[in-house]
Symmetry: C2
Subunit: 337 residues, 2 copies
Amino acid sequence: MGHAGATRRATMMDVAARAGVSQSLVSIVMRGAPGAGAQTRQRVLAVAAELGYRPDTRARLLRQNDSRMLGVVFGVQHAFHGDLVAGLYRAAGPVGHRLTLSATTPDRPERVAVDDLLGDRCAAVILLGSELPPADLSAAARIVPVVVVARAVRHEAVDVVRTAEAQGVALAVDHLVALGHRRIAHIDGGRAPGAAERRRGYRDAMRRNGLDGEVRVISGGPTEDDGARAAREVLSGGRPSAVTVFNDRCATGALQALRSSGLQVPLDISVTGYDDSRLARITFVDLTTVAQDVDRLCELAVERAMDRAAGVEITGRREQIVPPTLVVRSTTGAPVS
Amino acid sequence: MGHAGATRRATMMDVAARAGVSQSLVSIVMRGAPGAGAQTRQRVLAVAAELGYRPDTRARLLRQNDSRMLGVVFGVQHAFHGDLVAGLYRAAGPVGHRLTLSATTPDRPERVAVDDLLGDRCAAVILLGSELPPADLSAAARIVPVVVVARAVRHEAVDVVRTAEAQGVALAVDHLVALGHRRIAHIDGGRAPGAAERRRGYRDAMRRNGLDGEVRVISGGPTEDDGARAAREVLSGGRPSAVTVFNDRCATGALQALRSSGLQVPLDISVTGYDDSRLARITFVDLTTVAQDVDRLCELAVERAMDRAAGVEITGRREQIVPPTLVVRSTTGAPVS
DNA sequence: ATGAAAGCGCTAACAG
DNA sequence: CTGTTAGCGCTTTCAT
């Protein structure tokens, strides 16, 4: 057996008829509102279960005209976005909001994903790592409140919640300096999101530690292969005692290349990553890395989205910046020097 | 400025009033139906754009009472599910169906994700790698057609679309045998989904190749750490010349452990993975692996879901099995022997 | 080519 | 405690 096929789904009317009550009473019972007798309630619930009845969320929202629903655009093949989506569910549930997801994929550009959401009458939309051009951002923001997470977009019409990227790299540099390192290089992320700010964070931190003369940026990228390539370049130019890397994937690639050229980590060279992704936590990688505060980012994003949707007056900056933390593992140590 | 805040979203009525036509005409124009003058059409479209108007998908579906919408439950932190979701969008778009996503996360069990979808009046739901207990599966299937993808659930009420897991490992074994290997071990996935069938595929393939005596299964698991642990065990017991591993993550861990104990891959030992994940494609991993046919899996899943939703009579088995392919890269080669 | 009116499944007054 | 009624924003006859 299985599902009947083209059979109509049960409605409140069906339940009402079968339970011998009015449709409004069924409504009251289904949403647990006060105003129904205990046994009526029970009978209705029994019939509903028997019929496999589920209230139609859309009809409900349509009527209430208050969607209490947040749209989320995310890259379904982007691991960090997965962590953020999980955090958003955690943040939205307790405050009574649902999430409706719209994914970007290689064949489904962000514009399409956002468009989809706009038809869903979300109270607000949250864009993870948005790369939408300003014009599209404006267009969306005209229709619904827009909150961008984990991307430093500069747009007067949208709210932004993101990590203090520069500070993350600074934490890594300070940690290495405290261990006694001076020749600290940086493998950057090229034109990847956040790369510029992390690069700047490295430069500033080096300067702040009086290491202007030691600044050395090697061009890398977001992938393992970028890291491996960059590592080979690092070695070819008077080896530093430590290197801060754009992200964990890139750092993993660099680690691999470093080790396969005979170096010991962290004995000969220390390495830090960024993201605290699952990659970094693998026992034999065990990478010292910078962790973004996912829960905090998500809480702030949901809160801001709800406030905008409710028309709350917001004082202060549209950009909220969350500090990262350093997770020390085993790829950093004192230099032998 | 940004979004006005608690302002009401524009409706068809607003557009109609501003354009000086009836609401029905706006409806005709917005969905591109025939029956509107060219200049009227233009004026309406102009007003809609000016007002930032978007038709309400929910109201539309509610009225049409034909959702043309497929619900998808997926693990948002599961990389392979990301690939499948991308494939589902590709498959559903051309046949005029939308997707509505509901994610499982560490705090959001599959039951909750499915429940959410049931209120959305999807025509059918597609469950990726479902681990729902039979009772829950039955409950869902009573309400809406259910298609499970990438998991060999055995349930009379649901359709299944999955890869011929056993065949995948058999491809790997045959490839190794063709290269001249005989001592081929298998690092399994423990109790992970698909592990049992892949283990069986290994055993059968060995037998078919007359290598019953060489069968050796080492208990592993789905993660890199599992692979590393298993690899150390492999080495401690009379080293095989090749090993087929449960999945790419596990294989990567095994590779790492093998190499760090001084072995050359594939010179001293060949290794195969499973999944053809991004991991396998990294240049310095470059893993020979088994690829699932994502597009085919998704096409079949969407087709089946639509057929069930439309009440099409389905003859033949409820389970559709898609053959995998072997992707030969550089972790396999002839044994030195 | 255009408009009026009914109703999708539900919630929210309001009556009894 | 229970039923009646009026929409939410849209599509869809059916008139005009």
